[in-house]
Point group: C2
Chain length 386, copies 2
């Protein structure tokens, strides 16, 4: 197994790109990543692209072939992978495996979703495909509803409050306000979150991540080659993926995501690290309760302590363990297939010291955590400054 | 790189499974493959599943998570890959890479599609997602129309005739009649093909592969472990993938699929074999003209000679190079995501001598060839009897 580094990273602004299509977004992020790496397309050996629902959202499948074409990379192989909202991290993981194994040297990894071409109701139906349609969504459940069940149980078991959840949103908006790529780069207050429209009790509008267009890309290379490129590479020290039942009703617990816990355990073990070694993390805050569960399941706080830790500011930029410096899914936006790759882009910028106003001082080890649906898939990557 | 073997193979009957859902089909093929391998689920380290358009066809994405759940395999990682009609072969390729690299030992690979729950018109629109929607399909092109353009050009350049194309269909139905898993296990005549309804001139109904439900699965293991399982493993000696422009208008030639040619060249080179070493092949006959181009692009016949070779019977079971012993996409059926894995299942059965009435005598080297859309992706695998 070879050591793998990120040698280039780039992304589009996340938001409502009514003037740009899926292809434009993918090409923009891909070209930015290649430019950042200081290499030309003819150096690329293979590619992976994560997208959840391009078939339903824009009528286009075969995204690997499309990307090879529009990036001017054919005949190299490009493969689409899909794992709902974890599609981007799964693409990163396939790219990592391709380089680590020695099968390919330079691999481009993209993530993209174009979600705003349809109405909100249609998009919500399509996002239902991330969960168990036949046993949950087709019967009337919604994703806010599913996470609301987890939130209620978390409140009941651990005394987690609506204020604790709201504090996650306030913190992520504060970070997003320092990120020019964020969909909602502005601060919000606790009162605004608590007073926002109820979506699925106890989750309100400002507890929920938005519908977003966007794309992100990274370029991977073996660490022993990476030193010959434009910038210091950021090493991906491990990649771990785990699964759980797709429907909530089959799970032993509603207050943890088993897939997150298992993937994190594997990641720490392989990297020979503990949660205390992590300087910052991008975690999957599709809803505020998801971030609270994530920081527990990833081992940053004991189970049940994620809410108080958030309210006390322990996850802020200047806190014990800064979480979602990019603004997270909540403020940076959540183009589902792009999110996992965007997390890698943010960690890359942080570990290179290029994160501007939201830079974490002396950051040398980062973690990203990406969840598919309500937790049937979770993917954890750990990164190190070289 | 470790040597990789297929230690188990299984598939559902291909056809209209109105009484079974997507999950049932995947589980049936997966259990058959595991049973054939003589191993239990707890031996599996990871999985890959190929499906093209489950989101649009049945409203369900996140197929990796779903499969891990319904196969009783969670928390192991299962990942969906998509490359239109080549999705199954891409899943096989990811599984091959995972085992070859040493990252995983036992990997289950599935391919599945449930297509008959919607009407033909809706399914045709969804299949359009395999091509360039924005420049071809949305503007009125259809897949039969796109392949009809290639057929007309092939007829003009090389004198290929409608009879030559029809002979492919007659031969594949003759093979399919010997396959209990085939959707249309019955012989047809040249007159029936030529007299069938015109779909896109010169392609008639019986030049076209059908809409099908079905699933197929294989179990992979390193060759040095494979000997400890129930049956002699079939080695996958190489896996190659290439891409081309997604729209026809950007291609240099309409009478070859560049992606097939490039993937085949890579496959032969890596395996240190030539087309003459191949004893039988499953190729992508989504339309009869596609098989004629494939047997040329794969090097079995010179460019322009695929039509005469077919008419002369050189690709029959008893011919020089038996093509599509399973019945191919035409007679066995084409559940798009399943096809690539079904090809691997057929080659496995042939190389083990388990293909019954359609068995090729002394077959020791087989090849499978799977195409996405009109050729933006092509995947070639070569297999050897151990």
């Amino acid at each position: 197994m070879r050591r793998v580094g990120i040698i280039g990273a780039g992304m589009t602004k996340f938001g409502e790109h009514w003037e740009h299509g899926f292809r434009d977004l993918v090409v923009e992020s891909g070209v930015k990543a290649l430019t950042d790496a200081g290499i030309s397309g003819d150096k690329i050996d293979a590619g992976y692209i994560g997208t959840m629902a391009s078939g339903s959202l824009i009528g286009q499948e075969h995204i690997g072939g499309l990307l090879a074409d529009y990036m001017g990379l054919n005949p190299i192989p490009i493969t689409r992978v899909e794992g709902a909202c974890a599609s981007g991290s799964l693409a990163l993981r396939q790219g990592f495996m391709a380089v680590a194994s020695g099968l390919h040297d330079i691999v481009v990894v993209g993530g993209a979703e174009k979600m705003t071409d349809l109405g909100v109701s249609a998009v919500s139906d399509i996002l239902g495909g991330a969960g168990d349609q036949e046993w949950e969504l087709f019967l009337g459940a919604t994703f806010p509803g599913i996470y609301a069940l987890m939130a209620r149980k978390h409140m009941q078991e651990f005394g987690t409050t609506e204020e604790m959840m709201a504090s996650v949103s306030v913190k992520n908006h504060s970070n997003g306000a320092k990120n020019k790529y964020a969909q909602f780069p502005r601060e919000i207050t606790m009162e605004q979150v608590l007073g926002s429209k109820m979506i699925a009790d106890p989750l309100k509008m400002l507890d929920c991540s938005p519908i977003t267009d966007g794309a992100a890309g990274v370029v991977l290379a073996p660490m022993d080659m990476a030193e010959s490129f434009a910038k210091e590479p950021v090493e991906i020290v491990t990649s771990a993926q785990a699964s759980d039942s797709i429907a909530l009703h089959s799970r032993e617990s509603l207050t943890e995501l088993k897939a997150t816990r298992v993937a994190a355990e594997k990641a720490y073990e392989r990297a020979n690290l503990t949660p205390k070694d992590i300087n910052l993390a991008e975690v999957h805050d599709c809803f505020t309760i998801a971030e609270i569960m994530a920081i527990e399941d990833l081992g940053f706080f004991p189970k049940g302590q994620g809410g108080p830790a958030s309210l006390e500011g322990k996850t802020k930029l200047e806190g014990e363990i800064p979480i979602n410096t990019s603004g997270g899914l909540k403020a940076c936006g959540h183009p589902v297939g792009a999110t996992g790759v965007k997390q890698a882009v943010e960690i890359t910028w942080q570990l290179r010291g290029e994160a501007g106003e939201r830079q974490i001082k002396d950051a040398s080890v980062g973690l990203s955590h990406n969840v598919g649906g309500s937790g049937a898939t979770a993917v954890v990557h750990i990164y190190k400054k070289s």
